[in-house]
Amino acid sequence: MSHDLERLFEEASPPGLPPELRERVLAAVDEELNTTRSAVRSSTAARRRGRFRPGLAAAAALVCSLLLNYGVSTSVDRRLAAVLGPRPVPRQAAEIAAEIAAMTDSQTGKWAFDRLASRRGQEGDTELYPLRLKRLIDQLAAETQEISHEALQLDLEMDRDRRGNRDRQPPGAQRILRLEHRNTA
């Protein structure tokens, strides 16, 4: 910058700051700091209050519905028991359970009775279920006999092997295919 211009700008430099301006500006800054702090606090609190959590709401609704369902069922059962008295013991179930207990033991008989008694409410199944169960028990009994017979046969064969009988018959498949094993010298 040339000396003339330099001198000119120096001469025309703006006057200093008014002394009261400092207080005014800093007071405005203070106010702004307080305003923004309180605004941040209130907006954070509002966000916390107003946030909707769909997962939590769904879980709460599910728990509420389960509790209500349980409450209604219990209350209906209680009222029916009060009006109609205790539930009758099903005769067929008691007879079948007694048979099972006679064949096995009392615990199995009780278990069978509980199972049969719990199924009595289902329509159409009431008549068929004891019959099906009886058939199943007969079948089981027959299989048990068969298994006992086979076990006896196996024991006999093992005894024969232990005796070392060389004239024993080879197994059926080997005999048919002529693959009998002969010991060499």
Binding site: M1, S2, L5, F9, P15, V25, V29, E32
Partner: protein
């Protein structure tokens, strides 16, 4: 140790007072030169500091605070100038803002203010802005480059160009 910017970002009042003491006078000079009105410069200086306090979180990452404060003041000044244009207000005379004498040399001051005002009025706006920042704001070319976002070379070229024009004008007037 906590930097000045971090203290400002935290909302420390003492840090804002320190910032004011460090740069308010230069920013005020710049605003007077830019707006041509001391009252507007006072208001805009206050507005600049309020804006800095409002957006104080950004100050934590500012390396050089002076150009940042000048950039904020510049944005505020642009807003005011645009508002003036929208409202059709007549531009305030720079001469009267600069002519306030403090040491009794009123006559010299008034003459200098008048000549400076005339010289600056004749500059194109991009050159005028660089002169305002360089002469009234007393910023370096690097700082002006940070404030305006222009390359440092462009700033220097514009400043030299503005000086040439003002020198030519003043020689013509004095002849």
């Amino acid at each position: 140790m906590e930097s000045h910017g971090e203290r400002l970002a935290r909302g420390d009042r003492a840090a804002f007072a320190e910032l004011y003491d460090a740069c308010a006078e230069r920013v005020h000079h710049y605003l007077v030169g830019r707006l041509g009105s001391r009252a507007d410069a006072d208001d805009l200086l206050q507005e600049t500091f309020v804006r800095l306090a409002r957006d104080r979180k950004r100050l934590a990452n500012v390396r050089n605070l002076l150009p940042y404060v000048f950039a904020t003041a510049r944005n505020e000044a642009h807003r005011l100038i645009e508002r003036r244009v929208r409202e059709g207000r007549r531009r305030t005379e720079l001469e009267s803002a600069l002519a306030i004498a403090e040491d009794g040399r009123e006559k010299n001051k008034r003459e200098a203010a008048e000549r400076v005002s005339v010289l600056l009025e004749r500059l194109e706006p991009p050159l005028r802005e660089i002169v305002d920042l360089k002469i009234f704001g007393a910023l370096t070319f690097r700082e002006i480059s940070e404030v305006t976002g222009l390359p440092q070379g462009t700033v220097a070229t514009r400043y030299r160009s503005a000086l040439e024009k003002m020198r030519g004008q003043s020689v013509k007037e004095w002849e």
